[in-house]
């Protein structure tokens, strides 16, 4: 029932952000997902992040594939253009959209069915191409819309609601993203908004391919004993390596941690990522070490979360292609069409 718009009830205590927008201005239609779905929490986190970052709500392009998670762009940023593409192919559509106009913020929202199975190839290639985007996978380890089949991120040995045991190895999208060259890689949990909102903010400010794997339990089909993607299981095995604060435009740091436990990473656009270490020795700027640490903890059955890797000064696809600083969709006839004089020269060379 996504045609039902939310009522415009404004609480008198709501405060506008620097652009004068209320949190309400970043919301979308009423969600049609199940009550308690992790995906709705992620939508709320995206709304919060956009509000806190003072984004003009219409300057985001939100793209998705097919599945429960891919429906969610309808439920946030209602003033943004959204594109619910085809199954597993959001990355290519996002890449093309980004090529047409690099000035918008590109938010790709997908699920484990959409990105780890049919879309694994496009996921990999968008990452390795260095498309400037925030790519969020709402990972519940299950096919929800078709009622409970295993997805490719289901852990081996985990049990479906019907009691079937998964015998296939799981695809770990975080490890893949690291290996493929994503310059911002995080994992979080839909049930931990305090962790998730700053990660989304940092990813949006990251000028390169940013990937967030967000565990997002499916209350209907994958929240039972024996599942490794349930609320209970994730809470028990969640091992956060750091706590992140994003200080956009050099506002003062408000969180005060013990000296020596916080490091600051300044991104290309001047935003500062203040990282409070929870795991000793974890260095979020060391890609190889991050991969090793993840593999090690995963073998122990732990789910490592937090900002796992960031390259503060990444390149992107436009840089590699040497495209003009202006959006390609705004170029005029004079800039695009060479005219008869150039044709005369070309004709002369073809005789």
């Amino acid at each position: 029932m996504t045609y039902i718009a939310k009522p415009k009830l404004h609480h008198p205590a709501l405060t506008p952000n620097a652009l004068g927008y209320l949190r309400r201005d970043y919301e979308g239609s009423v969600s049609t997902l199940c009550a308690g779905c992790g995906h709705d929490s992620i939508s709320a986190a995206i709304i919060q992040a956009a509000y806190e970052l003072d984004l003009p709500p219409h300057r985001v392009a939100k793209l998705s594939g097919i599945g429960c998670s891919s429906k969610t762009p309808d439920y946030f940023l209602g003033n943004s253009h959204g594109f619910n593409t085809v199954h597993g192919r959001m990355p290519s559509v996002l890449t093309g959209a980004n090529l047409a106009n690099h000035e918008l913020i590109y938010l790709g929202v997908s699920g484990d069915g959409d990105s780890a199975s049919i879309g694994l190839g496009q996921f990999a290639h968008a990452i390795r191409r260095g498309v400037n985007m925030t790519y969020i996978v709402e990972n519940n380890g299950v096919y929800g819309l078709t009622k409970g089949q295993f997805s490719a991120t289901s852990d081996r040995g985990s049990k479906s609601k019907k009691g079937v045991v998964n015998h296939d190895a799981a695809i770990d999208m975080v490890s893949l993203a690291l290996q493929l060259g994503a310059t911002f890689v995080a994992r979080s949990f839909s049930g931990d908004k305090a962790q998730l909102v700053p990660l989304i903010k940092a990813a949006i400010r990251h000028p390169g391919p940013a990937f967030i794997d967000t565990l997002s339990p499916c209350v209907q089909f994958n929240n039972h004993a024996g599942s490794s993607k349930s609320y209970d299981y994730v809470r028990e095995h969640n091992e956060a390596v750091n706590r992140l604060d994003v200080i956009a435009d050099r506002k003062p740091i408000e969180v005060d941690y013990e000296p020596g436990t916080t490091i600051s990473v300044t991104q290309h656009d001047g935003s500062v990522l203040s990282l409070h270490k929870l795991a000793e020795h974890y260095d979020a700027t060391d890609r190889i070490a991050a991969m090793a640490y993840l593999a090690e903890r995963q073998a122990e059955g732990e789910i490592v979360t937090g900002l796992l890797y960031v390259n503060p000064d990444p390149g992107d696809l436009h840089g590699a292609l040497g495209t003009t600083g202006r959006p390609l969709n705004s170029l005029s006839d004079a800039e695009l069409v060479p005219g008869q004089a150039a044709l005369d020269r070309i004709n002369a060379g073809l005789r």
């Binding site: 219409h58 959204g82 619910n84 996002l94 890449t95 695009l336 060479p338 073809l350 005789r351």
Partner: protein
Amino acid sequence: MTAPLAAINDFVVKFANVNGSGSASANSMFAKAVLRMGVPVAVRNIFPSNIQGLPTWFEVRVTGEGHLGRRGGVDMMVAMNPQTWDRDVAEIEPGGYLFYDSTKPMPPSKFRPDINVIGVPLTAICNAAYTVARERQLFKNIIYVGALAALLGIEIEVIEQLLAEQFEGRERLIKANYDALHMGRDWVKDNMAPLGLQVRRADAVGDRIFIEGNQAAGLGAVYGGATVCAWYPITPSTSLAEAFTSYCQELRVDPESGKANFAIVQAEDEIASIGMVIGAGWNGARAFTATSGPGVSLMTEFIGLSYFAEIPAVIFDVQRGGPSTGMPTRTQQADLIGAAYASHGDTKHPMLLPMDPGECFTFAAQAFDLADRLQTTVFVMLDLDMGMNEWLTEPFKWDDSRRMDRGKVMTHDELEAGRDFGRYLDVDGDGIPYRTYPGVHPTRGGYFTRGTSRNPYARYSEEGSVYVDNVQRLLRKFETAKSFVPAPELRPASAPTREGVIYYGSTGPAMHEALGLFERQGRRLDALRIRAFPFSSEVDDFLASHDRIFVVEQNRDAQLRTLLMAENGGDPDRLVPILHFDGTPITARFIVSSISSLMDATQPPGSRPLREAAE
């Protein structure tokens, strides 16, 4: 002994070579030398799906009258490939000529009594002059060009000029090539007389240019304002994307900043290619991909999305022999139905059907206007024959006052002024709604694009009546398209007739030659060249005013005929298929013999399908 063939500016020379031996540039120099003497040529490169070792042929039709189709038959075979010797020799017309390397003696059984054998000891000449193996191979090609020039009356200075242009600035190479050229020429002058086949200087080329259709289409995409190209290599379309790339580097780099006013991505596959094109089109850039039939098969899901969500895209389909991997390096017009109705559900897509490189250029540019105007995928249907062979065509022209037609795009100011925006609302009655570019206005004009059913304001709906209204509007839009796409071209017979032919694409040159032959035979046929789908009212008129129409095309299943029946109510009894689909380009000889025998055997309306492969 059959009399040796004699002809001036009207014969076919075929080169049989081994792929990768460096023969291609020597052969095309031969063709270009004839052109530079003012005599039109039509060339066909017949190559394998291979980089080195397999047989390859290059056919040069010397045609003073300017027939640009393939003629069929070979008057002189330059037999440089032992693997294909027997079939090459068999292909020569009685009285024709066999040119071969006579260094190694051949048994008499390897020849034919009714042909003229021209043995030139190419290897011996080469080995005497060169010691390096690669030099022996490359210069052997130039030596035979020199020998052929002497035999056929091609002016040696013209070839020297071409060599000088090709190796401009590299004096040593020019000199070495001159030497090789003269070795071949001198040997012939010393040992043989010129043949009955002669090239004589004329003035029949005019200011026409010589270019491949793919290259022309790539240039057309530049002039059409395309800024995003996403593609995946596939024969025979690859050179289209490569031509776009090199023309962009030449014409689209900002001279001050050195920055590119274009973005070209070699995608991971065809699906990603069309996905990027649709993403860019959705976001207001002009975008295209170039592919062939197998690529279109992969793209169909996205093509359906483009149709239903109404997103501009341009696809160049350079057709090859299908189905499946088919004949990757042979030509066909067999993707017509696949493209016209690509994707599941009820879909239809406009197609432009260029005839030659000239139309490849103009239709390529026009396709971007049409895609924006109609907000849908527009196909430009080339084929291998026109795409990968250099054809003589009129020089490219551009009207400098022409501007891109971006179609119905609602602007920030219109939204700000409170103009009603419904993404799928038919405000003008032509079936074409307004769209907005993402990010245009803070609170108005945003909408959610999806492949699912939705109401005129882009809100999700599975209500039957809403769905029906929307897909009926899409039909109205398709009807509107008829007035935008290029109209068919009518060539009336010299006297009124109730019989006609319909043809399209690369069949054009062979058909035009055949029409001249029909007139000489006293057969009157009105001819209609279809240049686009959907078919406009001129096609209906033509169908209605003829009792029998031969539909000539290069596929097995008479695909254009099917479209004429399905879309315009063409009467199957009156539409007679003439089909050529062995992978070689259709010839005037084939058209004339197929249609003549049917006209002699039956009276219109005839309904007997002619299911017969070529030659």
